[in-house]
């Protein structure tokens, strides 16, 4: 974790809410998808962002890329503020920050050959001559493990893994400094997930990119990330070294997530979360997790915990219990066994 100035990407207090009309009278409600997120990605570092669906991970990804503007807060990329989406400066920045999508078939244009689409960033940003572009496409295709003959194929005639490789190739063709991956493996077949994950790990190491890896899969995040941040209802609740977080989760929510990972041949005491799944339109007071938290106290219901380093080992966590500011209500023993 380097100092602020050396960071490739820094997001400060990002918040974004959407207005949703519900019911017959159509009263608009604000849904806070992202509610005060700060994160940083250093050059050559991978930050994993974990959370269940609807917690605001993908919105965070779009915010840091500047695809949509945050309501409050700011994004700093390489020391400069993110220009507004659609401006020339913003478009120019695209060659340095790229994205990999969840559904590669949707992210590719079915009417164009894969090679044409991989070359498209070079066309858009007018990089190199036609011959150089062709050469660069061939090189980047080899790098992601696509065969030269795939260049003329259309997305729908490729396999799921090959499509995602094509999306990755398109993202890498301009040699970006930052790669944002939004659930890049969750739409793929299980057998292919590991291959694509290894490819991304490998590429990140070789190309020394900064990477923001968004996923709901803790194990995938652990494999690829140097640092992991756990999100719950639009906020980061815990952040730290992936191995440490997985071995010794500090936040009750992370504990529940970790205990949900199946281990072959090992029976663990799983933490079963109670209560309703989180609804960003109706955010609980205090710690947003308290209605489902097995150890919540009165403090948790009223006071919002702050994300700050734990005294014992410096792990950043947002939980009154973990900081020892409140005594656990019940069953802490259960949690320690996982």
């Amino acid at each position: 974790m380097s100092a602020g100035t050396a960071d490739l990407l820094e997001a400060r207090d990002l918040a974004r809410s959407y207005t949703v009309r519900r019911g017959l009278l159509g009263r608009p409600t604000a849904v806070r998808a992202v509610d005060g997120i700060s994160l940083r990605v250093a050059r050559g570092e991978t930050l994993g962002l974990v959370g269940e669906s609807g917690c605001g991970k993908s919105t965070t990804a779009r915010l840091v890329l500047g695809i949509e503007p945050p309501d409050t807060g700011s994004v700093i990329f390489d020391g400069n503020a993110m220009p507004p989406s659609g401006t020339a400066a913003w478009a120019n920045l695209r060659r340095r920050m790229q994205m990999v999508y969840q559904d590669p078939l949707a992210a590719l244009d079915r009417r164009l050959a894969v090679g044409v689409q991989i070359a498209e960033p070079l066309d858009i940003h007018r990089i190199g001559t036609a011959a150089e572009r062709e050469e660069r496409v061939a090189a980047v295709m080899a790098e992601v493990g696509l065969q030269p003959h795939h260049v003329a194929r259309h997305p729908q005639s490729l396999s799921g893994g090959q499509r995602q490789r094509a999306v990755i190739a398109r993202a890498l063709v301009t040699n970006p400094d930052l790669l944002v991956c939004d659930e890049p493996i969750s739409a793929l077949d299980v057998s292919i997930q590991a291959l694509v994950l290894n490819l991304l790990t490998d590429l990140q190491e070789r190309l020394k990119m900064g990477m923001l890896f968004v996923s709901h899969d803790l194990r995938a995040v652990r494999q690829i990330s140097q640092r992991v941040a756990v999100m719950y209802l639009g906020r980061i609740v815990e952040e730290g070294d992936p191995d440490a977080v997985l071995h010794d989760p500090a936040h009750p929510y992370t504990q529940a997530l970790v205990s949900a990972i199946p281990h072959p041949g090992k029976t663990t005491n799983r933490v079963i979360l109670q209560g309703d799944p989180p609804n960003p339109a109706n955010r609980p007071t205090g710690c947003a997790f308290h209605p489902r938290c097995p150890v919540a106290t009165a403090t948790c219901r009223t006071e919002t915990p702050e994300l700050k380093p734990r005294r014992s080992d410096g792990r950043r966590v947002a939980c009154h219990i973990a900081h020892g500011e409140a005594a656990a209500a019940r069953a802490p023993a259960l949690l320690e066994t996982c």
């Binding site: 009309r21 519900r22 017959l24 009278l25 159509g26």
Partner: protein, 311 residues
């Protein structure tokens, strides 16, 4: 629901304002409204009086507002031909037109909907094929050709029905048949595809899989769900009826609004044209609004959105 009603009313109001604006702009663009409305050979003092009463010596935006005022108080100028009040001339033709369009609309519904439902329930049967052939023909044969074929066969060759005029109820049969056929064909085609779409839905399979008799499935589930998209095309059909009336009245020399419109366009009797266009437009906007509101009432999924496109 209240929000939906209000937003629909607002959209209707915007449409009407746009219609009036359209007429105003076209009128202004085509020359001096006084000359255009009163006719070039009107006496100068009449033209002056007209200018004054329409405020043509005022700036444009004031004219625009006084045009609205005139429209909503029904002062749409005088007919070039007999100098009568344009609105009165148009209004006295309305009953004749309704005498054709209302029965034709009923024919549309009574023939079109059952034919479409039956065709969908017996897909690929002989009757389905016949209904589809009729439906496609109903689209491809324009009403003026259908009208003339009917006249050729039933009046000229067989001599069963009169071909023109408004002397007895017999005169109305051919025009109504002409207009009824086209709309019924359209409606049958639409109902059939709406029905087929509904019949392909999982809940229909569920309903019949749980042992409900097929007739109950059709009545309780399929018909009610197919009715929702079908309502949306009724507004479109009203437009078709109005357009059909213009053509059919001309063919059969039926003294309705449509024929008046054609004659007035040919004679450039602009006060009448203007009155008819405004009247039809306002009627159509109102009809569409009612259809939308009905749609909102019938479809439980409507939560303040606009209904989907009519086609």
């Amino acid at each position: 629901m209240l929000h939906y009603l209000l937003s629909r009313l607002l959209r209707a109001a915007v449409s009407i304002i746009m219609v009036v604006t359209f007429v105003f702009v076209v009128l202004r663009m085509s020359g001096d409204p006084a000359m255009v409305i009163m006719g070039a050979d009107a006496p100068p003092e009449a033209i002056d009086a007209f200018r004054k009463s329409w405020g043509l010596d005022q700036p444009l935006w004031i004219q625009y507002f006084s045009f609205f005022e005139a429209v909503f108080s029904g002062e749409l100028g005088r007919s070039m031909r007999d100098g009568r009040d344009a609105m009165a001339v148009v209004l006295e033709r309305v009953p004749s037109t309704l005498a054709l369009t209302m029965p034709a609309f009923l024919v549309n519904l009574i023939v079109g909907v059952p034919a479409g439902v039956y065709a969908a329930l017996h897909r690929n049967s002989l009757i389905d094929r016949c209904v589809m052939v009729m439906a496609v023909t109903g689209f491809a044969v324009p009403s003026f050709i259908l009208a003339m074929l009917l006249v050729l066969i039933l009046s000229v060759n067989l001599g069963w029905l009169p071909s023109a005029g408004q002397d007895s109820w017999l005169n109305a049969i051919l025009p109504i048949a002409t207009m009824g056929f086209g709309g019924a064909a359209l409606l049958a085609r639409f109902t059939r595809s709406a029905m087929l779409e509904v019949l392909g839905q999982p809940y229909i399979r569920t309903a019949s899989a749980k042992g409900l008799p097929w007739s109950a499935v059709v009545w309780r589930h399929a018909l009610q769900n197919a009715a929702i998209p079908t309502i949306t095309i009724i507004g479109f059909m009203l437009g078709g009826l109005v357009a059909g009336a213009v053509v059919v009245e001309s063919v059969f020399s039926w003294p309705g609004v449509g024929r008046l419109l054609v004659i007035s366009v040919a004679n450039r009797d602009l006060a009448i044209v203007q009155a008819i266009v405004l009247m039809i437009a306002i009627t159509m906007v109102a009809a569409n609004m009612i259809v939308d509101v009905l749609y909102g009432l019938v479809d439980p999924r409507m939560h303040g959105q606009a209904r989907p496109a009519r086609r």
